[in-house]
Amino acid sequence: MTHRWLKGALGLLALGLAEGCGPAPASQAKPQSVTTASGVPMIVVPTGLFQMGSDDYEADEGPQHEVRISSFLMDQFEVTHDLFVKAQLPNPSRWQDDIRKPVERVRWREAKLYCNERSLMEGLTPCYDEAKPGWPCDFAANGYRLPTEAEWEYAARAGTGRLYSFGAPAKLKANGWFADNAGQRTHVVGTRRPNAWGLHDLYGNVSEWCQDVYEPDYYKRSPAADPLGPAGGAGDTRRVMKGGSWKASASMCRASFRKGQRTGDTDACFFTDFCGFRCVRRVTPADVLSLLAKAASEK
């Protein structure tokens, strides 16, 4: 048993988890899945380089540019109803017929509040300072936060250069819930195929909040390593939303598609029923070894 997790850990190191390693090879090996202290499955996304954006679609997706991403943990699934209420948060979702469905109608602030609550549940340091206007994010904290849009797109492409990591858009029906197959509603998470790194529903079900302020021309000046998005944003600025949803066309599900979404933070009622999210957290090789060891001992 010990050999198995050690083998996995070594595999991760080979994938470039450790700081300073080169780009990740294109989906040659499947990154490891770990389970957090509160029981949430996450994927160890390796350090790597990728081409972010696209020069072939909307103006805000270009210019395509190379970005280096440091390793991080990302939720394998979108945050579900049962996880949201476990954090003692009121479930705002339109569809409440199955607790395994992704939460939607979630304001940007509520998604951040969930991140903090999950951090506290697991004894981690919350990333968002709820006492300051706009709840600024401490990216150095070890707790949960929303992904940057660069992290999100990197994870969606899963080591491929493609706009749909699985290949042709015609394969989308097997890989995500979108307008052509969702039947105008959300679905239980993980019921479409995962991408090469084991992440589900990045191409559909609900669109996902990112940390970044939305700026259409940000790619013209964004840093080459771990971009955090434009500065500012204590006001009610638009934030980046990535990924397809139950009501999105196939084209809107492509990895480079980006939308500037109003946060909903100034609305008493938020009716945007395709807004969901998933969490990420920074990770060190020691963290991964610890999580894998824990998983092995529990087995």
Partner: protein, 349 residues
């Protein structure tokens, strides 16, 4: 010929002005009344309850408790008591509790913790309230589960017979016949968002099928006023004596094209409405005792928000901020997060 035209125009203007005066000048009409409005206000770095005269000419800090955050006042139908909320603590460790006091601010007494969105039953002795959904605080208005009733003389609290099914309600208001409670529901009880009539002592729940939020019964029970949108308040007739009440057509509307208008409440004679009005925003979290959310939410600092009064007139509408100014009237002007007003007639001594 020119003289004749000018005379006709002048005469028309005079007639229109006379008609306007006959329709009533809100400030003048309210100046004659003995009504008061109790409302929350953020003064001196904390929430206080103020009592303002119906014409807005005088306002008194009823609570005057630095460091204690009083919110969401509701005056009993007989005008003798006021129930209100106190927020104690910060962030998700905040305890929001329900309190009651006499209309003059004396005799403060805690009813229960983790409660919100309360209203009075017609007997002026029972307070209906919404228990908080989970133990940790959340500023969200629909963060509730069930309905409970506290009877002040006995000190007993009981749950609504259907309490297990009542989920994510907010802004409850009791019908004056005691038969119904009207409330907004968001993401609960199988509804996306709507306004419901809930049988006060039974299991019946009726979807009123209207968008918007924060409905409140008129004192005679014949109308409901509610926020039909961020910039519209509306009034519709309702027959609460029926076992299956239905709403009529919109009877009166209030608009504000620029500012949000919320928290509608009826004067005791049903002739006037009060409302909170202010700019869109999400509060200023640097203010102690406040939270970051939409300004209309209880506990959120709302710079520039004031209380206004309008006169209800069948088949008409009022647009605040536009002439003629005689059909709307600001009752507060300092913009100190003046919200959640409730009219009452203080008992005579």
């Amino acid at each position: 010929m020119k003289h004749i035209k000018a005379s006709v125009i002048l005469g028309t203007i005079v007639l229109l002005q006379a008609a306007a005066l006959r329709a009533g000048n809100v400030r003048e009409e309210l100046g004659d009344s003995k009504y008061k409005l109790v409302h929350e206000s953020y003064a001196n770095n904390n929430w206080e309850l103020f009592v303002t005269s119906a014409d807005g000419k005088s306002s008194v800090n009823l609570t005057n408790t630095p460091g204690v955050n009083e919110l969401y006042p509701q005056a009993s139908p007989d005008g003798a008591k006021i129930c209100f909320l106190i927020d104690n603590g910060t962030g998700r460790a905040t305890i929001r509790s329900l309190w009651v006091m006499n209309f003059d601010g004396t005799g403060r007494k805690k009813v229960t913790d983790r409660a919100r969105q309360q209203c009075w039953a017609p007997d002026s002795q029972t307070i209906a309230f919404l228990p908080q959904e989970y133990s940790k605080f959340n500023v969200t208005d629909y963060y509730t589960k069930g309905i409970s009733f506290h009877h002040l003389p006995s000190g007993n609290t009981r749950e609504h017979v259907n309490t297990k099914l009542l989920h994510h309600l907010y802004n409850i208001s009791y019908a004056p016949n005691g038969k119904w409670i009207v409330a907004t529901v968001h993401a609960g009880m199988g509804y996306r968002h709507t306004n419901l009539l809930i049988e006060a002592n039974g299991n019946k729940v009726i979807n009123l099928g209207i968008d918007g939020c924060r409905p409140t019964f008129s004192p005679d029970g014949k109308h409901i006023a509610w926020g039909a949108g961020d910039h519209e308040l509306a009034v519709v007739p309702i027959d609460i004596e029926s076992d299956n009440p239905k709403l009529g057509k919109k009877f009166f509307q209030v608009f504000d094209k620029q500012n949000k208008i919320y928290h509608v409440d009826w004067s005791p004679d049903g002739r006037f409405l009060s409302l909170s009005r202010g700019p869109n925003g999400k509060g200023d979290i640097t203010k102690p005792g406040t939270y970051e959310a939409a300004c209309e939410i209880v506990g959120v600092h709302a710079k520039g928000w004031d209380i206004f009064a309008v006169k209800v007139a069948r088949g008409s509408s009022v647009t605040i901020g536009h002439k003629p100014v005689y059909d709307w009237q600001p009752l507060t002007r300092n913009g100190y997060s003046n919200k959640e007003s409730d009219w009452f007639l203080p008992p005579s001594k």
